[in-house]
C-alpha cells in the first residue's frame, strides 16, 4: 500500500492534464529548488510557495488539497491556544523485531519533531470543547502501528468518558507493515473505541484528507457519524497498482478520489479547507446536547 501511494498520486495527478506517452511522464520529478515554488503533483502547475502557503496549501489551479502537517492542521482548525496534547511522549517498540525499525523511528523523530504519526488532544472549536485526532503523513505515511492505535483509542475513550465529540482528520498509507499483525489489531482497537463512543450517543466526525487508505479506511475513518472529505484527495481501500495488476488495465484518474467516494455514497460531503472550521463548528452546534454539556 505504502509503496503505491507516492506513485499513485503521481500517476493520477500527472495523468489528468497530460496526453503524453507513458515514457515521458516518468521523469517529471520536480527539479525546482525546494522552498521557492510549489509544483502541484496533480495538474503540474507551478505556484510561488508564498502564494501556495497563503492559499493554505491548496493548488490555486486545480483545487487539489495537498498534505499539511498535523501542527498546521491544528492551527487552521482549533481555537488559538486551546489545544492540550495527550500522550505526547509515547513512542513505539519493535513488536516483531523488524530489522532497523528502531533506528528508522529514531531518525524520523528527529527529522519530523513528531514521536509518531498522530497528534491527539483536547481543544475547542468556536468555544465548543472537542477531542481532536490529526494524522501526519510526514511520519511513515501515517501508517497505523501501536502508537497511532493506542493514542487514537485513548483519545476516543477519553471523549466517551467525558461525553465529548470526536473530530478525526485521517490520513494514512494503511497498516504499519513493520509491526506486522500488531498493526492489524489496531484496526480492531480503534474501531472498538468508536463503537463505545457511538453507543454513548456521542458525535464523531471523520475528515478524510490526503491520503486515506488501507487499514485506516477499513477501520475508524469509515465509521464517522458524518464523513467529510477534502477535495481531490485520495481515498480507498486497496492500492491502485494492486487493482491495476488484477484487472490488467489502467484505472481512470479520478478512481479513489474524494469525488469518487461521494458519488459512490461513502462520503457525506466534500468541504474545502478554507471552510472546514466553519462547517465543523456548525455541525457541532447542531449536535449540541439540549441540557448543556455534562462535564
Amino acid at each position: 500500500m505504502l509503496e503505491d501511494l507516492f506513485s499513485v498520486v503521481k500517476v493520477r495527478f500527472n495523468g489528468e492534464k497530460s496526453d503524453k506517452p507513458d515514457g515521458e511522464k516518468k521523469d517529471n520529478k520536480t527539479d525546482i529548488p525546494k522552498g521557492l515554488l510549489f509544483k502541484c503533483p496533480r495538474c503540474r502547475c507551478v505556484t510561488f510557495e508564498e502564494e501556495f502557503e497563503k492559499n493554505i496549501k491548496v493548488c490555486p489551479q486545480c483545487n487539489y488539497h495537498s498534505r499539511i502537517t498535523a501542527r498546521e492542521r491544528l492551527e487552521i482548525t482549533v481555537d488559538k491556544g486551546s489545544f492540550e496534547e495527550f500522550d505526547r511522549d509515547m513512542i513505539s517498540k519493535n513488536p516483531i523485531d523488524f530489522p532497523d525499525y528502531d533506528k528508522k523511528q529514531q531518525a524520523l523523530r528527529e527529522k519530523t519533531g513528531l514521536n509518531d504519526a498522530v497528534l491527539t488532544g483536547k481543544a475547542k472549536i468556536r468555544g465548543e470543547e472537542i477531542i481532536i485526532i490529526v494524522m501526519d503523513s510526514n511520519y511513515m505515511m501515517a501508517s497505523m502501528g501501536s502508537v497511532v492505535g493506542e493514542k487514537i483509542t485513548r483519545a476516543i475513550e477519553y471523549a466517551t468518558a467525558n461525553r465529548l465529540p470526536v473530530i478525526a482528520f485521517t490520513a494514512s498509507g494503511g497498516a504499519r507493515m513493520q509491526e506486522g499483525i500488531v498493526s492489524l489489531m489496531q484496526m480492531a482497537k480503534t474501531s472498538g473505541a468508536v463503537a463505545r463512543h457511538n453507543e454513548a450517543g456521542l458525535l464523531y466526525i471523520a475528515v478524510m484528507t490526503d491520503p486515506t487508505t488501507g487499514g485506516v479506511t477499513a477501520s475508524f475513518a469509515s465509521l464517522g457519524d458524518i464523513i467529510i472529505a477534502e477535495p481531490k484527495v485520495l481515498i480507498g481501500f486497496a492500492g491502485r497498482r494492486v487493482i491495476e495488476g488484477t484487472i490488467r488495465q489502467k484505472l481512470p484518474d479520478d478512481f479513489q478520489s474524494a469525488e469518487f467516494m461521494l458519488e459512490n455514497g461513502f462520503v457525506d460531503m466534500i468541504v474545502e479547507r478554507k471552510k472546514m472550521r466553519r462547517v465543523i463548528a456548525h455541525l457541532l452546534k447542531l449536535h449540541k446536547p439540549k441540557e448543556g454539556t455534562t462535564e
Binding site: E3, D89, I91, E179, L184, M187, F237, A238, T246
Partner: protein
C-alpha cells in the same frame, strides 16, 4: 506441536488437498442451512453463512470459502470476498444476536478482494462496519483460522471472544508477497518475508493475538481431514462452554479488552500530560 518454520507451514496451507470450510462444515455441524445474500446488493460466494446445530446447540456459521478446484474457485473468487460478502456476514451475525445463537466464524482468505467494483461498493466501509459491529455483538463469537488469515479481509470475521488457529495456519497484516514487495521492493522475497512477519500460531500466541492452537493431523490437515475436524469440534465445544456461561456484559468487555491490550509502546518520562486513561477493566484476565 511440530517444529516447522513459518515458510514450511505456508507450503502446508497452500497444499492442494488442504481441507476448506466446504469440507469441515458437514463434518463439524449438523443440519446446516445455508442463507444467502446481504439484502443490499447480492450474494457473495466467497463467504458462506447459515444456521446449524452444533451438538444440539443452535449456532450461526459464517465461513470464508476457498474452492477445491478451478470451478469452485471461480464461483467463490478464490476465497476473496467483496463488500456484499462482509455485509452478508454482518446480517447473519445480527440475526444470531437476535436469536441468542453463538457465532462461529471460519476464516480462510488471502484477503478482501482488490478490484474496481469492490472499491465502488465500499470494501473499506464494509470491513470497518463489521469490525465495529462485531465488537459489540451481544452473543458469543468464536473465530477459527483454517489456513490463511489475510489482513483486514480476515479481521472482518475475527473480532471475537476467542481466536483459535489451526496449527499450521497463518494470520498476517498482508500477504508475505505483499510484505516483501512493500518493504523490500521485491516480491520474490516472499519466503524470507514469511519468516520475518511472525505469522505462526505460536508467535501470535506470544503477541496476545491467538488464544488457542488446534492440532492438525501429522504433516498437515490434508493427511487426515476427519481427525482435524474432530479437533476443531472439540475446540468449539470447550470454547462455547467457556463463553456461554458468561454474562453478556462481561463477554463484551472481555472482547473489547482482548484487542485493547495489543500494541507495544513505551511512554517516555514526563508523560503525565496524557489522557491518563488505561483500559477500565482488569486486562490481565481476558
Amino acid at each position: 506441536m511440530s517444529e516447522l518454520t513459518a515458510c514450511e507451514r505456508l507450503d502446508i496451507i497452500r497444499h492442494k488437498g488442504r481441507p476448506t470450510a466446504l469440507d469441515y462444515i458437514p463434518m463439524i455441524f449438523d443440519e446446516f442451512f445455508e442463507m444467502h445474500g446481504d439484502r443490499l446488493y447480492g450474494d457473495d460466494h466467497a463467504i458462506m453463512g447459515g444456521v446449524a446445530s452444533f451438538k444440539g446447540i443452535p449456532v450461526t456459521v459464517i465461513a470464508e470459502v476457498k474452492g477445491r478446484n478451478l470451478a469452485e474457485n471461480q464461483k467463490c473468487n478464490f476465497g476473496m470476498p467483496h463488500p456484499e460478502g462482509y455485509r452478508k456476514a454482518l446480517r447473519l451475525a445480527k440475526q444470531a444476536e437476535k436469536f441468542h445463537r453463538p457465532v462461529i466464524c471460519l476464516v480462510d482468505t488471502a484477503g478482501a478482494f482488490c478490484g474496481v467494483e469492490a472499491e465502488q461498493r465500499g470494501q473499506g466501509e464494509a470491513i470497518a462496519r463489521n469490525i465495529m459491529e462485531f465488537m459489540t455483538l451481544r452473543t458469543p463469537v468464536i473465530s477459527i483460522i483454517l489456513g490463511e488469515g489475510g489482513s483486514g479481509g480476515a479481521l472482518a470475521l475475527a473480532v471475537c471472544d476467542e481466536l483459535a488457529m489451526l496449527e499450521n495456519a497463518s494470520y498476517t497484516v498482508i500477504s508475505p508477497r505483499g510484505f516483501a514487495s512493500i518493504l523490500w521492493k521485491d516480491s520474490s522475497r516472499e519466503r524470507e518475508a514469511c519468516n520475518v512477519m511472525k505469522s505462526t500460531a505460536e508467535e501470535l500466541t506470544r503477541l496476545k493475538v491467538c488464544d488457542y492452537i488446534i492440532a492438525e493431523a501429522d504433516g498437515g490437515a490434508h493427511n487426515d481431514p476427519q481427525l482435524t475436524a474432530e479437533n476443531i469440534s472439540d475446540y468449539i465445544s470447550g470454547a462455547l462452554e467457556r463463553k456461554l456461561q458468561k454474562g453478556l456484559d462481561e463477554l463484551i468487555k472481555g472482547r473489547y479488552n482482548k484487542f485493547r491490550v495489543v500494541g507495544e509502546f513505551e511512554e517516555l518520562p514526563h508523560s503525565d500530560n496524557g489522557s491518563g486513561l488505561v483500559p477500565d477493566e482488569d486486562v490481565s484476565e481476558v
